[in-house]
Amino acid sequence: MNTARFCVILFFFGAAFVCCAVKGCRLAGPDREKILARGEKIARVWRQLPARRGRILDKNGKVLVWSELYCDLHYNNSGEYELSEDEQHALIELFGKMEFDVPPSKPLRRHLRPDELIALEPLLLKGAPLRVLVRNERLVCDSEAVRTLAGKIELRNNIQCGISGWELQNELLLRGIPGRYSVLVDRFGNYMPKSFKLATPPSDGKDLKLPETLEEIEQKFKEGEKL
């Protein structure tokens, strides 16, 4: 065996080990932030957290109008209503006992909580024949005057927006600002554990307190009608 030539090979190995160490050092140090930022772009997804819309109260604090968003889980409307066994198993794991034999027009589950929505999303991303529908529920006190004057709201990008009456006039006050959160997803679209980051918490809308009582509002409304 030629020892000098063997030393040449050892020298080559030594140089290669040093190259690897230098590259590893760069990845851990100077290049780290740049590379991690690239990774965030690949894997981090941003989602919205809905904000509560403010209520409309009279002078005594009685609730006249109250709006709330609810999320319900439905079969999708593509004509495909068969859930695979794995999908059914995943839903039961998430919600407990469930009835799957429901007509497509009816929800599989009502009033999903935020944590349930987050847990459900990977299943939806994988193409399960399901969808989450946002339902706008609105309660108005039993008064014709309030029903007429309060106006209406509608959903725009899952945000309740006033389109007429007091709701529109006081839109800036009543409408909340939705929050944002992000999670990392793996290459199959599953959320990575412990990667949840709340970027901005939702800022709820403020309640609108009217300067009159309900009786005064009704009285004024009647006088207005007579005129």
Partner: protein, 350 residues
């Protein structure tokens, strides 16, 4: 205190395997049964250590005498793979019986080296030594390429080149072999779009999804690692995190500091083997075999780490002693065992 070379080899082998178990555990942190692969690897580790001590206890003269027989038997195992083997990830490289599988090319490395050493020692003339060694290597590579396993074929060919270089063959023979091999490799890359794609991806790492994930996993580890047993990125994005991407998973788990320690451990292992190879009181065959051990472990380690650090084009190679795989670990155990046996094969003339 005198540190024995044999002790250093055994100690670094055991420590490296410990890092391997940690890597496998980290890569499985999100799996349904995170300890399954670790337990399997522990069993393989037991077998590898047992075989290492068994081979180490046998006299090297036994291996010298039966080199071609052992090499022939393992070659037959490799040869019948396409007929009786199981195809995994497009490669017909395993014998499978239930949950037990065996990759003969990993275990055969030691016996290929044994046969090559015997052939190179048998011939004195450069031309004969070259052609005999070349023919022997090409027969093996032919059987491996059929699977197809280009990574292992590359390792075998590199071992042949490095070993005839070490035997002191004239440069013209080396150049005469390297130039056609390089031309052949270039033609192969030109004819196979996936190989060309890998090469161009390596030249522009930002465009390669695979290399980016490996870089990201390493970068996430930072200096001291993310968390023991929790390689988040390796679990989510890196392909084969416990196998072909083991070094990236390890770096994510224990950071650059830990990965550097693993590099140092490999350097210690190779250093100890090199010291054995350079001992003049050993027989030439023992020295050549141990030098072959250094070369085969060194090349595979550097190729794996180079790929995982985006320094080389992506290719599927395991990291010796670290990556998951019983055959690879047992193969390393046999290789190191024969090297330990070679360490006590003293020159009778002395």
């Amino acid at each position: 205190m005198k540190i024995s070379l044999r002790g250093t080899v055994i100690f670094s082998m055991i420590l490296l395997t410990f890092f391997g178990l940690l890597t496998i555990l980290s890569s499985q942190s999100e799996a349904e049964s995170p300890y399954y692969l670790v337990l399997r690897q522990l069993l393989s580790f037991g077998a590898a250590v047992g075989l290492m001590f068994l081979c180490g206890a046998l006299p090297f003269a036994f291996f010298r005498r039966h080199a071609l027989v052992l090499s022939g038997i393992s070659f037959l195992a490799v040869l019948i793979l396409p007929l009786l083997g199981t195809r995994i990830n497009g490669m017909c490289g395993w014998f499978r019986y239930g949950s037990f599988s065996l990759q003969p090319t990993e275990i055969a490395k030691a016996f290929f080296l044994l046969g090559l050493t015997a052939i190179l020692k048998h011939f004195d003339r450069d031309s004969l030594r070259f052609f005999a060694g070349f023919g022997y290597t090409m027969i093996w590579i032919g059987a491996i390429v059929i699977q197809p396993d280009f990574g292992t074929s590359f390792i075998y060919f590199s071992l042949f080149l490095a070993l005839i270089f070490v035997t002191g063959i004239r440069w013209r023979w080396l150049i005469g072999c390297v130039l056609p091999a390089a031309a052949g490799a270039a033609a192969f890359v030109y004819m196979h779009p996936y190989a060309y794609k890998r090469l161009t991806a390596f030249l522009n790492p930002a465009s390669s999804w695979h290399l980016r994930q490996l870089e990201l996993a390493s970068a996430r580890g930072g200096w001291f690692g993310s968390k023991i047993g929790q390689a988040l990125w390796s679990n989510a994005y890196v392909p084969l995190p416990y196998n072909d991407s083991a070094y990236a998973t390890l770096t994510e788990t224990i950071g650059f500091a830990g990965a550097l320690l693993v590099l140092v451990l490999f350097a210690v292992l190779l250093g100890a083997l090199s010291c054995i190879a350079m001992r003049r009181d050993l027989t030439p065959a023992a020295r050549l075999f141990t030098a072959g051990c250094v070369i085969i472990i060194g090349i595979q380690t550097l190729l794996h780490i180079g790929v995982n650090l985006s320094l080389l084009p992506p290719t599927g190679l395991t990291l010796p002693l670290i990556s998951y795989g019983g055959s690879s670990l047992v193969g390393c155990g046999i290789l190191l065992g024969i090297a330990l046996s070679a360490a006590s094969d003293k020159n009778e003339a002395k």
